[in-house]
Symmetry: D2
Subunit: 420 residues, 4 copies
Amino acid sequence: MNNYDVLDISLAPSGALKIAWVRDHMPLLHALEDKLQALSPEERPLAGVKLSISIHMEAKTAYLCQVLALAGATVAATGCNMLSTQDDVAAALAASGISVYAIHAESEADYYRHIEMTLEHKPNLIIDDGGDLVNMLHTKRPDLAAEVWGGCEETTTGVIRLKAMQAEGKLRFPMVAVNDARMKHLFDNRYGTGQSVWDSIMHNTNLIVASKTVVVAGYGWCGRGIAMRAAALGARVIICEVDAVKAIEARMDGHAVMTMAGAAPLGDIFITATGCKDVITTDHMQLMKDNVLLCNSGHFNVEVCVTELAALAVSHHEARANIEAFVLPNGKRINIIAEGRLVNIAASNGHPAEIMDLSFAVQYHSVLYMLANHESLENKVYDVSTEIDDLISREVLAAWGVTIDSLSPEQREYLHSWQV
Amino acid sequence: MNNYDVLDISLAPSGALKIAWVRDHMPLLHALEDKLQALSPEERPLAGVKLSISIHMEAKTAYLCQVLALAGATVAATGCNMLSTQDDVAAALAASGISVYAIHAESEADYYRHIEMTLEHKPNLIIDDGGDLVNMLHTKRPDLAAEVWGGCEETTTGVIRLKAMQAEGKLRFPMVAVNDARMKHLFDNRYGTGQSVWDSIMHNTNLIVASKTVVVAGYGWCGRGIAMRAAALGARVIICEVDAVKAIEARMDGHAVMTMAGAAPLGDIFITATGCKDVITTDHMQLMKDNVLLCNSGHFNVEVCVTELAALAVSHHEARANIEAFVLPNGKRINIIAEGRLVNIAASNGHPAEIMDLSFAVQYHSVLYMLANHESLENKVYDVSTEIDDLISREVLAAWGVTIDSLSPEQREYLHSWQV
Amino acid sequence: MNNYDVLDISLAPSGALKIAWVRDHMPLLHALEDKLQALSPEERPLAGVKLSISIHMEAKTAYLCQVLALAGATVAATGCNMLSTQDDVAAALAASGISVYAIHAESEADYYRHIEMTLEHKPNLIIDDGGDLVNMLHTKRPDLAAEVWGGCEETTTGVIRLKAMQAEGKLRFPMVAVNDARMKHLFDNRYGTGQSVWDSIMHNTNLIVASKTVVVAGYGWCGRGIAMRAAALGARVIICEVDAVKAIEARMDGHAVMTMAGAAPLGDIFITATGCKDVITTDHMQLMKDNVLLCNSGHFNVEVCVTELAALAVSHHEARANIEAFVLPNGKRINIIAEGRLVNIAASNGHPAEIMDLSFAVQYHSVLYMLANHESLENKVYDVSTEIDDLISREVLAAWGVTIDSLSPEQREYLHSWQV
Amino acid sequence: MNNYDVLDISLAPSGALKIAWVRDHMPLLHALEDKLQALSPEERPLAGVKLSISIHMEAKTAYLCQVLALAGATVAATGCNMLSTQDDVAAALAASGISVYAIHAESEADYYRHIEMTLEHKPNLIIDDGGDLVNMLHTKRPDLAAEVWGGCEETTTGVIRLKAMQAEGKLRFPMVAVNDARMKHLFDNRYGTGQSVWDSIMHNTNLIVASKTVVVAGYGWCGRGIAMRAAALGARVIICEVDAVKAIEARMDGHAVMTMAGAAPLGDIFITATGCKDVITTDHMQLMKDNVLLCNSGHFNVEVCVTELAALAVSHHEARANIEAFVLPNGKRINIIAEGRLVNIAASNGHPAEIMDLSFAVQYHSVLYMLANHESLENKVYDVSTEIDDLISREVLAAWGVTIDSLSPEQREYLHSWQV
């Protein structure tokens, strides 16, 4: 029997409809589901495994949970962000027999309580998104860490935190850096974020992008995707970076490059994608034009200083659904979308289904890898194996019906020879 | 006292919030509002005029209605599409004292009844969007046409119908072709449609555009905008056209060009923007891949043959909010967004506010023009005067804070001379 | 027997090679050639006609001259720009039996002498490019104008001058505005200029475009093409305009918009495409950064004030082939490409062959039209008939092997009806 | 006293003009030159060092040679490709006192003789481009290898060969993989190749890119750059790859993906950028349309099977300068640009000056690094140090006048912490 703490279990039909939709657009997971369906219970690769998951609770992740359950795991799932949970999807997932603890816009206390409830299933394996699950296992609930064989981390942010733990010798079990797989970060972070951030901004504001000046902080894979689509939608783009090589790359890509203080008075829309904190401060905000839009697509809500803004503002009000307007002492208005949380997932549907299909295929295979190898692994962060990337990439091409060339033996030899 | 027929007047606060938001992003209308506020009632330019409007009932049009009322007109407003009405906005508009007759997803009978109720205010001037208001004045209610001094038409589709009426000598009052103003069709039809169609598709489907094949039928200003943004979002684009010059232009713009029958088996997403009917027929649909997406951004819901599809399909079901899946006898699924009605307005928020600001500034000035000149005009379709285009374009640049060059007397003379 | 004044007739083989190359890439002219070949001399449509042509003397125009000669005309040809003549092509054209008068970098006196020699063939029909031929017929040699039945003009600039003459009642024979054909200006002025200007700048400078700021003066069809390709090559683009609507369009297309005085200190590369004079003055130049590049793609060399720059400069020297560097009193260097003449044709090969194929197909058919209709035409500027545009556009699609849809009778009727 | 074998020393003034031009557009080398000028001979960092260089002999590389000579080295230079040498530049370099052995279009025997003459200067350090210098030191002239302390390799191709040598334990001195520096391959291989390949194709063909189908083999950094600019110029792009992940990336970028056999009948222009051999074979060529264009931007001329084509063809002729047309037995014509050698450098001016400035700054600092460290290095391939990348990237921003943000101590700590 599964437990759950969801807003309203009667919302399940709406959530089930959403899950059915993404299922039809996630061919890799779908093919796995078909394959697993055909197995007897004891043949299922995760039979007997307890798996706890902290992840944005919406249709695509719900479908991943269902596939993992079908693979034999006993799955317990919670959110990884207070705003990203879709209550109907959580209900549908619970109704399908999985233990779910997540409620949209829950309090911070409830959020952490739900993480803890998920861990109380005493997982053997975990899937984390941003690091809150791992963090609790290393701080408040080290008692449960001993039972964990290993896990997988989805994001750049989480991987950075894991590596910091490893450097301090604090990591208590091995983790796979799913984010760093080519089939994940090359696609999810660029094409996924690039589209979903703009989907969210356009839909929540109903404002034109063309003719605007868009300021993007961070020119990593996410920032590149956001900037690429901003220009494609007709905006002029300014990039703020702390890495000089990336700054040069941004300018070669046709963007202007400057400091945030320089960009503040010029921008109409500001988007952070750095993984750092204090990227847009109230000092910057006081330089901005009236009625600008600010949002964040980094994992945590510390990139835009929303707390400091709230303290500084003389008043604030809901300007539109998901948008809060703060009035500065200088009379100018700063519009914050989705409280400075991940704009594409806290105020919209997150990444497109086909993109998450790639990332979740990496997750699935990495879970199997960890299950098979954890005994021989150290308490470190491991890369996804080249074999998994290769396997998945071949499956994508097959799903698309695309055939590519392969090297002949002569070509292969030529590429490894030096005597002509 | 105003009358109204809206879904629920208590929804007004939500609608008022939406109107307040667009008001802050429609600088031309906002400046007009400020100017009109300062006038005494009798100074207001539309004082004593009865104005009936059929238009997509959402925040930006509601704001136009309020500005026209502030200009002194007695305004009665209805929708111009069963699905595009937002009930909270209709409520807010009614609560602000304007006569409103529009309910989302109303029946066809109610739709036409609401148009008729709007006309029963016995307008002197009208604003039409697509031609349904004018049509009723020329067919069912010619008795009311006699009182009409003239009006304005917003769309390509409506203008085509008006010119057909003029050609047959049937038009009973003069109309201004607002659509054909440079400040309207160059921006609304291209940048507005280009963005809002993709906003709607991305938001309603949560699917990736990059890597997909998008088929756009029609390479007029709307189709160009849709295709430009499709490519910008990473799709390969196929254009279907009946005009050879536009077809060549499409190919020069980097798109593939072929017949719809040729494109049908290749496309993942199909969008019509032709103003014609039967653009995607069931013959085409039977050639398509499983699970394709079809939608329309032309004015009427006859571009994609949805009625014929419903007749042909062996079953259908809601696949996601705003999306109906039809299963063909061959087992393939055809997903129709927004019943084949204007995808950007029936299933999303319509054009961005700043774009409609341009179009509605043209509307406002064209209404004044018609008021001032109707006695000297014939029962024909008139172009928006160059003066209005010029005035508005200068105001836009001023609102942006942009300064441009002007010709010196010597340059002006040079441009008109032929003897060097 | 033909006459000629070319640099060196022995260069003919090199020019013939160039003509053979373009012949293989101009399918419309090539098809005409094949058709004309099959006719007996008396069947040829221009049999007995004397045709004088002033046009950029390079491979594509040479091929047009040969096709016109094959159509039965006695052709005399001269250049329309001192720098655009390619001496080997002029030689090849002369060697093929056509009277040619053109030498690269000839003096202004020789240039006008060659125009006059071309007119001394007493043409019945003329083809002009920019208006110098027409001008001489109306000023220095009105005696010859009486023999001219009519002609065709290729450029925006020439058409503007012709309309000025018409407005003053001075035009002595009818002219067809070839430039205004859809199959000409939509392609030649946008895709042709867009590519060939950058081909020339990149090849003559060997400098990177990405990361640069490019200032384009004029956002007509030529300027749009230049700006579109600048952005595509990775530049940030600033547009200078005098027309407010075009200025707004430029900004919606993602470009910055400002005055030339504002752009002068920001640009790295400046390109004029206005048809006006004094677009970049020495006042502007004195605001520029050191070592900027200036060039022009408008018809005449008066857009960039090169003469005034030469007077102001403290020194000048050849900086690279086709580039002259002028040192200002403030020590900064201004690099002028191709003396401020048409950069794409005076310093490179001009428009791509396939583009000129379209324009010259319009020319060919317009010459036939003028021959057939001149007696009934007034001394005015005439548009190219819709039939010619349609014919040519269908031929292009056929040459590409592209099939498009056509309207069914029901669709055609729907588009012209107003009663649903 | 320097020796030289150049075509004609009297061509020096023309070459000197070209060198002066690039000097003004290579700010990093220029700043080095200024700094070195100020040093006494004995202070110069390469004083007493003998340096042999094999590199494309044109203006930018000549300037690098001059800067290295100014740094105190005794420089001997030869080409690295028979077609890429510009004779006037070779003459100017010889006239400036450097030993130069390179003649455009020399025979293969002369090419290798010139490499050998360059090595007979008994270099301590070498700079290689593609690996021919290193190859001769390991095959024909191992006697000279003993004197070599180490060197630097410029290209992907050369690095692959060096790693093959290292893997077999054959490498006799350490080499720095300049290609793999971020400041090299991110810019040179993408923006440099992307622009210069199209500069060359457009200039050599005078054909339109828009509306064409362009097939790019290889989606590494070079292929990405070529494809990006092809699409930007209006082409539809097909990518051929052997790596499935890159193939997916190509499709996400909006390109079609298929095998070369699938692409052969569709393409108008084919470009190879793989580093492999036999990428376009005569089997592929026999599937192609008439009059297609083929060229290569990989280092060696074995990507397009030109030798096999010449054997198969029934005839061939010069179609335009730098273009040879081969007539197949099936009657179709295959146009090969620049004999299948590096199209951007064998038939045009190579990469833009500003791009080579970045690559050559890496070369310069890597030479100093090798001089300082060779005694402690093994006979392996070494990466460019992060410090060099950082130094150069900061200098580029400074040269551009661009300021970027830097991390505060709090931000730096946040990025390395895991406990919130």
